[in-house]
């Protein structure tokens, strides 16, 4: 806990206790119990078959890829993989649920007892993962005649999403601040992206977050009564909803009131959480083992096979970048925060000939090059990507082309200043640096004779400035350099200009 948060929490009269339940759509080709595509979108009710429509008589068949992915996520979250797990039916009526039960995992999930390390304000914290379980997604209702269910004249059901595989990741109630909640979700998203089990697109609903929130007086051991928050579909929504809910509960408690155990929904438009149902109205889901599926028995070999497919996890990768290339921890943290960005960095290092095995410290030259790559990524490239529809996965400037630019800089072929404009052109056109430099004639002038001649011309043309310089006005030097750069359209090697100007001035 850094000083700032500590201060804030002291200022706040309650301790916040939170746990998150995150639903993640698995990026498999087909659904969890049938062969239908999981592709997002599509005309309504076109990605369906008798099985996912739950027609009378159909039976589920488990997609093995779903088990692999759920296991992979569980392993990435340091969970134990259950040798024996099973599916259960969660029974409730709703038009988007065609069987009127969701096949899920109740008491024997595929993975449990893991953890996730986060960092808030530079301080590490470990959040426990209670469980990871597999389940099927429901469909979607489309309301007619109004934007919401309230006021709608009719409703239509679209079952394209029905049966898309999900994992639900449940954390322990270890989260103590809104910052920690956001950091947890960010880190979880990064890890899942690393494992490539999900595309984690919150805007398409492939990552959805619920939160259990309660407050208690500082020092109290027992948890306060919790509210379960639903419908937070972005990081911003999570942050706002938690801020609202914490304040709502605090106000009730300050007035001596009691928190009701209930499910509340975040209303983005109204900026508030709204009660959905109380504990008394809570569903009795009547869970029981799904008799249409056999228990899932996972061998040690199967676990090992999946384990072997795990990539280097973000924190390991971050440490590698710090140790191998001497990158500042902050920079390494940002680069490894997304797998795409980290992969980009590694590809660029390779293209620059400085890729170094893990555990080995690179030499100074290689460190300098890696630093150049890191600086360009964290600065220009990220800025341009953020302002575009591209990302690190499909950046118009490839790692190889970025290195091409850095090589021209290193060789002194172009100046730092020119490099910046060249880079913008590269981003806009996708062309390599060399092509742009040649096309536009941007090669740095490093020919001493040519620069000396230009310098002499400038000195001749500006006798009064030369006089000022001689009189000790250092500023005059800057003007003369500027004139030289202007005369060469910025292409003159600035170091040479400086050196030759000094030489010529001394001659006068």
């Amino acid at each position: 806990m850094n000083n700032e948060t500590m201060q804030m929490e002291r200022d706040f009269d309650f301790e916040i206790v939170m746990g998150l339940e995150v639903h993640v759509e698995l990026h498999t080709k087909s659904k969890i119990f049938c062969g239908c595509t999981t592709e997002f979108g599509g005309d309504q009710n076109t990605h369906v078959c008798p099985v996912c429509l739950g027609l009378p008589g159909v039976l589920p068949v488990l997609n093995k890829q779903v088990v692999d992915y759920a296991m992979k996520a569980g392993l990435a979250l340091n969970c134990e993989i259950a040798e024996f797990s099973k599916f259960d039916r969660k029974n409730y009526f709703y038009p988007d649920l065609p069987k009127a039960y969701q096949v899920s995992q109740y008491d024997l999930p595929i993975a449990k007892d893991g953890y996730l390390d986060i960092e808030v304000g530079g301080n590490p914290k470990r959040i426990g993962i209670t469980r990871v379980h597999m389940e099927e997604d429901a469909g979607k209702l489309v309301h007619g005649g109004a934007a919401n269910l309230a006021g709608a004249e009719y409703s239509m059901a679209d079952y394209n999403r029905t049966g898309v595989p999900l994992i639900e990741i449940v954390s322990e109630p270890d989260i103590r601040s809104i910052e920690e909640a956001v950091a947890y979700l960010e880190r979880l998203k990064a890890i899942l992206e690393y494992t490539e089990v999900s595309d984690c697109k919150m805007e398409q609903g492939s990552l959805r977050c619920d939160a259990n929130v309660s407050l208690r007086p500082w020092g109290q051991k027992e948890f306060g009564t919790k509210a379960e928050l639903k419908n937070m579909n972005s990081f911003k929504a999570l942050q706002r909803a938690l801020e609202y809910e914490v304040e709502r509960q605090a106000e009730i408690l300050r007035d001596g009131g009691k928190i009701l155990q209930e499910t509340r929904m975040w209303d983005e438009a109204k900026g508030m959480t709204i009660s959905l149902r109380s504990k008394e109205e809570a569903h009795d889901y009547r869970y029981f083992p799904e008799p249409d599926l056999v228990p899932l028995v996972i061998s040690r070999e199967w676990v090992d096979r999946v384990k072997a497919t795990l990539p280097e996890m973000p924190h390991v990768r971050k440490e590698r970048l710090v140790h191998t290339y001497g990158l500042p921890a902050y920079d390494a943290g940002i680069i490894t925060g997304s797998k795409a960005m980290a992969d980009y960095f590694d590809s660029a290092c390779k293209a620059f000939g400085v890729d170094t095995p893990s555990g080995v410290e690179a030499d100074d030259k290689a460190k300098e090059r890696a630093k150049q790559i890191s600086n360009y990524m964290m600065g220009e490239l990220t800025r341009l990507l953020n302002a575009s529809e591209f990302g690190y996965l499909n950046s118009p400037v490839t790692p190889e082309n970025l290195v091409g630019l850095l090589q021209l800089l290193e060789a002194g072929t172009i100046s730092t200043k020119i490099a910046k404009t060249v880079f913008e052109d590269m981003f806009a056109t996708g062309k390599p640096a060399k092509a742009i430099v040649e096309e536009k004639g941007l090669v740095q002038i490093s020919d001493e004779g040519a620069i000396a001649s230009i310098v002499r011309d400038i000195l001749t043309a500006n006798p009064s400035v030369v006089a000022d310089f001689k009189a000790g006005k250092e500023k005059a030097m800057g003007f003369l350099v500027g004139q030289a750069m202007k005369a060469t359209k910025g292409k003159a090697n600035p170091g040479l200009v400086n050196k030759l100007l000094k030489e010529e001035l001394e001659k006068l």
Partner: protein, 487 residues
């Protein structure tokens, strides 16, 4: 020639020898259905047009000199809880009165591939819940041996159709005795295979962990023949068993000398009609005469089978039948101003009394706070019941009992007392709980009504049951009698 009394294997020979054509056979079958239907009422839906088209294909094949399969061109019918692509599948319920599946059940696909010809869909107790077919939401089916009596249930239409000569064979489903008990009442052969031996894909679920599809036939050879066509592993059913399935028909005719047959004493005690008992005891003597060794055994947890069954089956049913909510297909109440009212009215109007009773029983058994005491406890006792059989099979090859404590009863006799109706299945429930196979054959008659004999085997020992039944049938000729409907 009374084609409607012939067995599938006899008809196959007639077709191969060109003594009849498939078209003649189907036409004769249709006529027989027409003639018997006013008395028996076995069919919910008839599919004559498709049947004639299929028969023409079989005839073309025969004319071209091609070989035909053992069931090719044979008219058959299905219990109306097996999905048939393009043919209405109702489960004898108002809630599915207009449901036309867009796909075939695996057994339907297999029978189509075998060339069997579908004549129609048979009546049943609504969603297979019942023991008399009186719970059909459409009409009651009558027993061809005495039309004032029930055919048994829930596969009453399938059993009656075979007995009345309205189909050469039919398929039924058995969750607690729904093939064996009507087979007993109608005097036909009915097999409840091992759980997992016949795919359930496309069978509208009643209780998923108990349901099995099996054949009704007029003799044991036909039963083996149909089993050959429908048994086997199915990728679409995760509970289907990836084991080797034998050629059941080829194994018939072997001696049963030295086979050890156990008589579970709990199945011969109180509540068994003395006349039924007498017929069964006589049958046991016949088997003894064939060289089988008879001994008594005990299945000590038998008394718990009924309560265990009536917790597990309704629990699963309450979930399986939840999908009938009026949203996507089937019946929807017209008087529903909002969603919850639509759910409630649709289900209140769409389901019959017995179905609603079981949904409530099952919902209660699964409810929070009751689950451990009821459902979980029932599952534990189920394991004990299974254990009883495992122990018995250490000493015996096959167990033998009456299929039903009584012969077919009269309409209305038990409809006022559900518990009395549940007791009709007292001899058959344990078999489903244990997941083992059992076969009903006609043992003889009491007061002109068929008495069913139940043979129970180890898991995947269907071949043995068929062999023993075949030996009995050959020795007694018990399968040669057919009811006289006067039509």
């Amino acid at each position: 020639m009374k084609l409607y009394t012939k067995k599938a294997h006899e008809l196959h020979d007639l077709l191969v020898n060109k003594e009849i054509s498939a078209a003649e056979l189907v036409r004769a079958q249709a006529e027989r259905i027409e003639a018997a239907e006013p008395k028996v009422q076995a069919f919910i839906t008839r599919t004559l047009d498709d049947a004639m088209a299929q028969a023409a294909k079989v005839d073309a094949k025969i004319a071209a000199g091609e070989a035909i399969g053992p069931l090719e061109g044979i008219p058959m019918a299905l219990k109306d809880n097996m999905c048939t692509d393009g043919v209405r599948t109702t489960c004898a319920s108002k809630i599915l009165h207009n449901f036309v599946p867009p796909y075939d059940a695996t057994v339907v696909t297999k029978l189509k591939e075998a060339g069997a010809i579908l004549m129609g869909k048979c009546n049943m107790d609504e969603f297979a819940m019942g023991s008399s077919t009186e719970n059909s939401r459409f009409f009651a089916t009558r027993n061809p041996w005495d039309i004032e009596r029930v055919p048994g249930g829930s596969s009453g239409g399938s059993a009656a159709a075979v007995a009345a000569g309205q189909a050469v064979f039919t398929l039924g489903s058995d969750t607690g005795g729904s093939i064996r008990q009507p087979a007993a009442f109608c005097g036909v052969v009915g097999m409840k295979p091992t759980y997992g031996a016949v795919s359930r894909f496309g069978l509208v679920a009643f209780a998923s962990s108990l349901d099995q599809i099996g054949p009704f036939t007029r003799d044991v050879r036909d039963n083996a023949r149909v089993m050959n066509a429908i048994a086997g592993y199915d990728l679409k059913d995760s509970t289907s068993a990836p084991v080797d399935y034998p050629d059941y028909e080829a194994l018939l005719g072997q001696s049963v000398k030295g086979w050890r047959i156990g008589l579970p004493k709990e199945y011969f005690g109180e509540g068994i009609d003395p006349e039924v008992k007498a017929v069964i005891e006589k049958a046991v003597k016949v088997l003894e005469g064939l060289g089988a060794e008879i001994g008594e055994c005990s299945l000590p947890h038998t008394e718990y089978a009924l309560p265990v069954y009536y917790l597990i089956a309704p629990a699963e049913a309450s979930s399986n039948l939840a999908r009938y909510d009026g949203v996507r297909y089937g019946y929807r109440s017209e008087e529903a101003p909002d969603l919850i009212t639509m759910f409630k009215k649709t289900r209140a109007e769409g389901f019959g009394e017995e179905v609603k009773r079981r949904i409530m029983l099952g919902t209660y058994a699964l409810s929070s706070g009751y689950y451990d005491a009821y459902y979980l406890k029932a599952q534990k006792v189920r394991t004990l019941i299974k254990g009883d059989f495992d122990q018995a099979y250490e000493k015996f090859d096959v167990l033998l009992s009456p299929t039903s404590p009584t012969v077919a009863f009269k309409f209305g006799d038990r409809t006022d007392n559900p518990l009395q109706m549940y007791l009709s299945d007292i001899c058959t429930l344990s078999v489903n709980l244990a997941g083992i196979p059992a076969l009903n054959i006609n043992a003889g008659f009491a007061n002109g009504l068929p008495v069913g004999l139940q043979l129970m085997g180890k898991a995947f020992d269907e071949a043995k049951l068929l062999q023993l039944a075949y030996a009995y049938e050959q020795a007694t000729g018990c399968h040669s009698q057919t009811p006289d409907l006067g039509v």
